[in-house]
Symmetry: C2
Subunit: 484 residues, 2 copies
């Protein structure tokens, strides 16, 4: 049983969250480190979670008028340069292809860091009349940003998987509505699928996407008190429309410039998911994302082996027929204790234990991940019962995360209070802000916390009259936090 | 109605198949040319076809033990060099990343041309015991091969979308069975989904995948008499197992080298699909792949407009509820003739025409794409009727392609006969072959035809006793053809 030792998570989520996270990712079989720094290999157990995230979002996108497409992996340098904010924003982070085979290329090609610059010219070509709008495109792909920081699987990798949506609209109203539709769908993903409470907000002007009019964000709080930008939706105004000539003839045959948006969610969502719910026993997954939602473990002695296994297999088959993702673990060379540990490590939300007592009484024993709550239930109607329990597991995970979040939004009225509160507790600190980027600097310099969002509604009154840093009139409420 | 002119395909499939193909791809909205030679943009109508190919294959893969994963886009040069045949095979075709941001990389990185070299080392790491085998991984991704030929969308592009499966097995039998399972699934895709008759065979030894023991192939015949390698499945023997140390402890704790396979299908399948079925009116799609399977076109005058449109909408709703992918085309600013042309261009398999007569008689008129066969049917039970007609359309497309194929496999007994037959008719020419690559040369030099396959079964007797080229004893039957 040499394997048993390998199963255990040795690091503590509370005391060494970074090491704990890396250990969970590797031991639960989600990802491994690639030979090149900054790159990871996503293993089947990890990729299956990403596929379920994809399937949920993709369905919602398609139901709201989005069509998938695929644009080239490479972008000519001259295209990246057409929108000056974009080239300034991404230039230091681009991986460059300079050679094809044995020959040097005439123009070097950027491995896409994001695809506005290659998609916009085609939108321009395809947009003739107001009847062609709105145009809503999305692609699922990988992008590369050459950031020289320590690799943290899913959170910080030079290549990452994501979707990027790009849309064009006749006017600001249409584009702004689009921006909010996608932000709401991301929020829904976090709530309904990932069991995580999202905060919706805007990035401050100095932290917008290059070229954007407005960058909206989903922020989620991690247990260590840092925030994660968990999805983003940009209203780009007419800057890309102008730079790339995306114009259309309106009903009166007048030429107008289209308003565009872009919006994306990356596998960083998986990082936030793992970090939020998992524990010192390993991975914890909400049922909507778990590759196996239920594992049925028969516990037999030699004299009742066949009937216990048959009963368990029959129960598993019934769950399977009902659409539950279920595995029967009847391995001979592993004992029940080993199996429990392994399935906890892998984040299976519900364990069904079947021993001779359950067989005799026509019952089944259900054990919830992560809190170990145990209930013995009737074998009859097991599919409905299991579905209810899976819903309960989701609700518990969400309630836990929500409780944490609610306690972690605090207020401050001075620079010292911001520094002290974040320094002591982490989490978000709300305060009045004059709108000047300079007022972020002292906080950033002292404790590496920044303004991670301001309220979505531009007309919302600031919580305090004065900027907590400079004392001038406050323009809006700033949320300071450390972030991933 | 300036649009009507743009709709028409001006080139002829028979007389200028290359130009015709390019025109269909662009006018049907499948793809556009990217600014960099060799790259294309896959538009929503094209990508939707690829998604359906993916969904079919992916389901079959998962039902037969395959798990999806994701490996890095880049492969360090030193990894590519570990299997010498691979580096020799791909070296001239690799796109190289040399710079990250403003810095030159210490080791340049290949944009993956295929991923054996980055997947094998991880298989080695994950394979400890015979219990870890078989290990079956697949990824859907894009790969880049820097070939300097003219761009032909889906057929020949520097970047292309594909799936690549990679598996490890305890022994040759397991790996060979895997190779054939995937080849059979590809054949099934062509038959059941794409309505194309596939030929299954082996590539001759001099045309195997670099490092492979055996390369099997699906060949499909194009209407212009050329063949397309439409999918491939390789038994790699132990060459990758040895180069990358993929070993496992068997039941007796003895270390053994794993046998591996790889198999792939690219968007070239879409090229073959378009080329096979489409015609001078535009795209023709089998119902299983068509984004819209049915279009309902109401034909009204002012005095019956509401009842015709209501009847048509009701019928479309019933089809939709039954799971048929249906569009109601009630656009006001287009007349029925324009709509017919447009839906033919886009390859909608079945058109349902609803005029006042159909309303009065409780009927519907169905028109098949591509042969225009028309039948007026009862409105009652329309969903079943339409499903039957869609099956008929698939069957017609398959039968047409099969009839073409059957007439295009000929025999030859001499070099002159091979040259004359392919020169005159195209298609496949079967002949006896000694097994020497040199005997392919004169045919290749004269008419650019090559041995595109030999029979799967190594023990099959050659059709003739002598090699058609050199006259020595024939070892097997060679299939000569020109190819894409």
């Amino acid at each position: 049983m040499s394997g048993e030792q390998e199963l255990g998570i040795t690091e503590s989520k509370e005391h060494s969250p970074g090491e704990w996270y890396a250990e969970v990712v590797q031991k639960a079989g989600l990802a491994d480190y690639a030979p090149m720094g900054g790159f990871i290999v996503t293993r089947p157990r990890g990729y299956a979670i990403w596929e379920r995230i994809q399937n949920n979002l993709d369905g919602w996108f398609k139901n709201t008028g989005v069509q998938n497409a695929y644009f080239p992996l490479f972008i000519p340098e001259s295209y990246l340069e057409k929108e000056k904010d974009v080239v300034e924003g991404f230039d230091p982070e681009v991986a460059w292809v300079t050679h094809g085979g044995h020959d040097e290329l005439e123009e070097r090609l950027a491995v896409r860091p994001t695809s506005e610059s290659i998609i916009a010219p085609f939108m321009a070509q395809w947009t003739r009349s107001h009847r062609d709008l709105p145009m809503r495109l999305n692609q699922w792909c990988s992008v590369v940003r050459w950031e020289a920081t320590e690799t943290k699987p899913f959170f910080r990798t030079k290549e990452f998987l994501w979707q990027e949506g790009h849309t064009a609209h006749a006017d600001e109203d249409g584009a702004w509505e689009e921006t909010m539709t996608r932000l709401d769908q991301y929020a829904r993903l976090y709530e309904e699928v990932m069991a995580m409470p999202p905060l919706k907000g805007r990035k401050p002007p100095h932290d917008k996407f290059p070229g954007a009019h407005t960058t909206t964000t989903i922020e989620t709080l991690m247990p260590d008190g840092k925030t994660v930008q968990a999805a983003t939706s940009h209203y780009l105004g007419t800057s890309f429309g102008e730079a790339f000539d995306i114009t259309y003839a309106d009903a009166d045959e007048e030429e107008n410039t289209a308003h565009t948006t872009s919006w994306g969610l990356s596998w960083r969502a998986m990082g936030a998911l793992i970090m939020t719910h998992s524990d010192d026993q390993g991975l914890v997954l909400p049922p909507a994302l778990a590759p196996d939602q239920v594992v049925v473990v028969p516990i037999w002695q030699e004299d009742n082996k066949d009937e216990v296994i048959d009963y368990a297999a029959d129960l598993a088959a019934e769950l399977d027929e009902d659409g539950v993702r279920v595995e029967l673990d009847d391995r001979e060379h592993r004992n029940p204790g080993f199996k429990y540990n392994e399935h906890e490590l892998h984040g299976v939300p519900l364990r069904v234990e079947i021993g001779p007592h359950e067989v005799e009484d026509g019952e089944a024993t259900l054990v919830h991940r992560p809190d170990g709550e145990t209930e013995t239930v009737d074998r009859d109607g097991i599919a409905d019962t299991v579905t209810d329990h899976l819903d309960t597991v989701h609700a518990k995970l969400y309630a836990d995360a929500e409780e944490t979040l609610e306690g972690e939004i605090r207020e401050a009225e001075s620079r010292e209070e911001i520094l002290g509160t974040i320094g002591q507790h982490g989490g978000y600190v709300k305060c009045g802000w004059c709108g000047d980027e300079d007022c972020e600097e002292p906080i950033k310099d002292a404790i590496a916390a920044e303004i991670v969002m301001v309220p979505l509604d531009r007309d919302e009154e600031p919580i305090h009259d004065d900027c907590a840093i400079c004392g001038e009139d406050a323009e809006e409420t700033a949320y300071f936090a450390k972030s991933y």
